[in-house]
């Protein structure tokens, strides 16, 4: 019978070499080594062991000689002789004499021979039948033994598997709990520090605000005082000018009266009261007109006072403006916490430089969610035409004040409003995770529509393949909505006819924030096996837990001529 592992394992393409013979030798040697007992050895996985065969301790082949002998010789009747003689004359008598003697002897011997033959026949028949029975019994035993052995082996494997699985589970739980505890301690200390910082900052802000208000109040009081003084001065001046004019008019009238008194003493005596009255009325009207025309000054002054007061009230209110201001501060703080949790950010390589290379020579690149305009500034200094959009008004104002072309609008509305194939690059950095899955899909679809052929779309998000990112860092920004798995992002891009040209991982976690391996100098001879296994496991875990923090994907919209 061919052994179970008789499948051919090698090829030699040389007619001078007897491959079959080599194969036979391999199997024969292997069988011998297995039979000798110390083969297969422990220590290797089961599937690497050659299959075991139960050794035959009893085979009919061992006694086959005996069996063929008794089966051939149970009949002991001697029929193979004839009585002859070579003597020419006496021969006839001799033969006859011997036949008589033989005849006499056979009369006694034959019954015994026949009995013995009969006995032999039965004995051989019984032996044959027993041998067959034993053979078939043996076969049964062999089969059961085989089944039993493989059962035991399976059981062993299962038990070992179970033990090692439980060990692994236990170890994993221990590590998980350790990690959770460490993370918790980290978090608590971070939160305490954050709280302290916040309290200090808010105290400072409050003091500053109070100072500002009291300063403004003083200013206002001063201004009001000044304006009061001004108004009093104006009123004084007006009064003075009225008095002066009345006085002057009186003098004029008096002189005229004196002048004309001589010539028209009688007529004058009659008209004088009317004349004086008219004159006085005219002067009073002129003064009133003057006062009315000077009221603009008061209007302006009072308007200025009310504007100043309103300014103060906006900054102290709890409306949207104040909230946005706080979000900006929140982002600054959370940035620090992020670094404490997972290590400082890595300057190089970064997505911005990669993107700059791909956008070189472009004229109309759109930065969606441009923030404080870091990338737009970079593009500008490299003479790449670009503009940005952001939904945070503070960021937009900040960018505009710094001379960047940035609009306050959301990505979907903006892309819908511009012409198809009008952009030659789109950059979306740390934005997708703030959107719902539906919006992500619509955004990618619109990007394809608005990009020219042979241009790039570059997207960067937190890398959720890292457990630290997906289970911790991601939630440091409450406005994060969606875990974006690289495979899903690839699907969405491909579904919308983009070709993926590159995938990148940025921001590796620094070594001091990962699990530590046992150093070479710490390994001792008696724990070498454990240490190497431990280090191997730690490396695997580090990869899984503390992978790169950022993921970026670069997609291209091909022209009609591309393959």
């Amino acid at each position: 019978m061919e052994p179970a592992m008789a499948e051919n394992i090698f090829e030699i393409r040389d007619d001078d070499i007897d491959v079959k013979e080599i194969r036979r030798k391999i199997l024969e040697n292997l069988q011998k080594r297995m039979d000798s007992g110390n083969y297969p050895p422990p220590g290797l996985p089961d599937e690497t062991r050659p299959s075991e065969k139960i050794t035959d301790t009893w085979t009919s082949a061992d006694l086959s000689g005996e069996y063929s002998f008794i089966n051939a010789n149970w009949d002991i009747h001697n029929t193979r002789y004839t009585i002859t003689s070579h003597r020419p004359f006496f021969g006839r008598f001799l033969v006859r004499g011997r036949q008589l003697v033989h005849g006499e002897i056979r009369r006694y011997i034959d019954p015994i021979i026949s009995m013995q033959t009969r006995f032999n026949e039965s004995a051989v028949r019984i032996l044959n039948s027993n041998a067959q029975k034993i053979e078939s019994l043996n076969e049964n035993i062999r089969n059961s033994l085989h089944e039993l052995t493989s059962d035991i082996r399976n059981l062993n494997v299962n038990i070992l598997d179970e033990i090692s699985q439980k060990n692994q589970l236990l170890e994993m739980r221990l590590q998980e709990q350790n990690a959770a505890l460490t993370a918790l301690l980290h978090e608590v200390s971070q939160k305490t520090k954050l709280l302290e910082m916040h309290t200090q900052e808010q105290n400072a802000a409050l003091t500053a605000l109070q100072n500002e208000i009291s300063q403004k109040n003083q200013l206002l009081e001063k201004e009001l005082m000044e304006q009061k003084l001004l108004m009093e001065k104006v009123q004084d001046e007006n009064q003075k000018s009225i008095d002066e004019r009345v006085h002057q008019a009186k003098i004029e009238v008096m002189s005229e009266v004196e002048l004309r008194s001589v010539l028209q003493k009688d007529k004058l005596a009659k008209d004088l009261p009317v004349l004086i009255n008219d004159r006085v009325n005219q002067v009073v009207l002129g003064i009133e007109e003057d006062i009315r025309s000077k009221s603009w000054l008061e209007n302006i002054l009072s308007e200025s006072i009310s504007t100043t007061a309103k300014d103060i009230s906006v900054k102290t209110s709890d409306g949207d403006e104040a909230l946005l201001y706080d979000y900006y501060a929140f982002n600054q703080d959370i940035g620090k916490a992020w670094m404490k949790g997972s290590g400082d950010p890595i300057d190089k390589p970064n997505i911005f430089e990669e993107a700059m290379t791909l956008f070189s020579g472009c004229h109309n690149v759109l930065d969606i969610g441009c923030g404080q305009g870091y990338f737009l500034n970079l593009l500008k200094s490299n003479d790449i035409g670009s503009y940005g959009i952001d939904i945070n008004k503070d960021y937009v104002l900040y960018c505009q004040r710094n001379g960047l072309n940035v609009q306050h609008i959301d990505a979907i509305s903006h892309l819908k409003s511009i012409q198809d194939s009008s952009l030659d690059g789109i950059f979306i950095n740390q934005v997708m995770e703030h959107l719902s899955p539906d919006s992500i899909f619509s955004l990618v679809q619109l990007c394809y529509q608005k990009l020219r052929n042979d241009t790039f779309l570059i997207i960067s998000t937190p890398n959720i393949l890292s457990v630290q990112v997906s289970s911790n860092l991601f939630y440091m920004d409450p406005s994060h909505k969606t875990h974006i798995h690289p495979d899903v992002m690839k699907f969405i891009l491909r579904y919308n006819r983009f070709t993926i040209t590159e995938e990148k991982f940025y921001q590796p976690v620094p070594a001091d924030h990962k699990l530590r391996t046992i150093l070479e100098e710490e390994i001792q001879e008696n724990n070498m096996q454990f240490s190497t296994l431990f280090n191997y496991n730690v490396n695997l875990l580090n990869q899984f837990l503390f992978g790169c923090r950022d993921y970026a994907i670069i997609a291209k919209k091909w022209g009609p001529n591309a393959g």
Partner: protein, 355 residues
């Protein structure tokens, strides 16, 4: 005519760099002007190779781009001159081999495969160093493909006669593999096969000659060796120089290769040169390099492979037949033959680029 070669990086002793230097010598000998340009240049080769920035475009010339890993900006540079470029493909390891051990290499290989597809879109001529590589080029869209094996300077291997390796002189049977410690080369299979052979022949050693780069993989292999109690019999030599390498080959009784991904596998040719019988797993570029010679493993059954090794070591007639067939195969990689193949290939490419 000018035929220049471009590589992302060159370093001393690296198979791709050696190939580029040999190709340059052949081109110059045949009257071509030829220079090598690279982005990263190892200091030993600073006089032989020019920085890529100094490349001056000559629209009448031809460019050969040696592609064995992601080139990034070098690839983009070459794509700008696609119409007069031919790609020489040394193969890129499938990224899956590195996923469990080194994410950086995983990304580099992934990016390399992406770049190969992009190159296939715009470059017409692709030259594989083996039939396997040629098939890869065809799959990636290259319209015209050819096979040009790596140029081996056989005379340079005739060194270090009589030099001894560490630990020699105990009469042990030495089994050898040469190659950097990368997961695709399946060192774990070498060690487990040797475990069985060591039971047959306790006076035996396994020499693993190659650079130890990927820490996770190296610690796994060392764990395996410790677990199998083979610390004194499996020797990791690390990176060695040319003379030491020759000495390791000369001390070896058999060359065993279990690799599951090879573009060409230069060490197979070196083993042929030093007259060592080869047993190698039949995968990717390996059967194309061995041709009819050596023994190809079709199923990784460690104990049976161990018996096969034992038979080859013990049966001197059989060993002689294998080694003879290997020497015949060496003729197919004759320096002059491949040189003339190279020149006629360049003529075909140039006739098409500048008709």
């Amino acid at each position: 005519m000018q035929v220049d070669q471009i590589l992302p990086s060159v370093s001393y002793g690296d198979a791709v760099s050696n190939d580029a230097l040999n190709i340059r010598d052949v081109l110059r000998k045949n009257g071509y002007k030829s220079e090598i340009y690279a982005k990263h240049i190892h200091s030993d080769l600073a006089r032989n190779v020019r920085p890529l920035e100094s490349y001056k475009s000559d629209s009448r010339g031809i460019l050969l781009y040696h592609f064995s890993l992601a080139g990034g900006e070098v690839t983009r540079f070459v794509m700008g001159k696609a119409e007069r470029t031919a790609l020489i493909y040394h193969n890129i390891t499938p990224p899956e081999f590195f996923r469990d051990y080194d994410l950086t290499l995983y990304e580099l290989c992934l990016q390399g495969l992406n770049e190969l597809r992009d190159l296939g879109r715009c470059i017409r001529w692709g030259i594989g160093v083996s039939e396997y590589n040629r098939q890869m080029l065809e799959m990636n869209g290259f319209e015209m493909t050819a096979v040009l094996p790596i140029l081996i300077d056989w005379d340079a291997l005739d060194i270090a006669r009589g030099m001894e390796i560490p630990g020699s002189g105990d009469g042990a049977v030495n089994i050898l593999f040469v190659g950097r410690l990368a997961p695709n080369k399946k060192f774990e299979d070498l060690i487990q096969t040797f475990y069985y052979y060591h039971l047959i022949q306790p006076n035996s050693k396994l020499y693993l000659v190659g650079n130890e780069q990927i820490q996770g993989y190296v610690s796994y292999l060392k764990y395996l060796v410790t677990a199998l109690n083979l610390e004194n019999h499996v020797i990791f030599t690390g990176l060695v120089d040319k003379k030491q390498l020759a000495a390791y080959y000369r001390s070896a009784d058999l060359f065993l290769c279990m690799s599951e991904h090879e573009g060409f596998c230069v060490p197979l040719l070196e083993a042929m040169y030093y007259g060592i019988p080869i047993i190698a797993y039949k995968s990717t570029g390996v059967p194309y390099t061995l041709g009819d010679s050596g023994i190809l493993i079709t199923k990784k059954d460690y104990s049976q492979i161990a018996e096969l090794i034992h038979i080859v070591i013990e049966d001197s007639d059989l060993r002689e037949k294998i080694v003879t067939k290997q020497r015949d195969r060496m003729n197919d990689f004759n320096y002059e033959k491949i040189s003339s193949d190279l020149i006629s290939l360049i003529q075909r490419v140039s006739a098409e680029v500048h008709p």
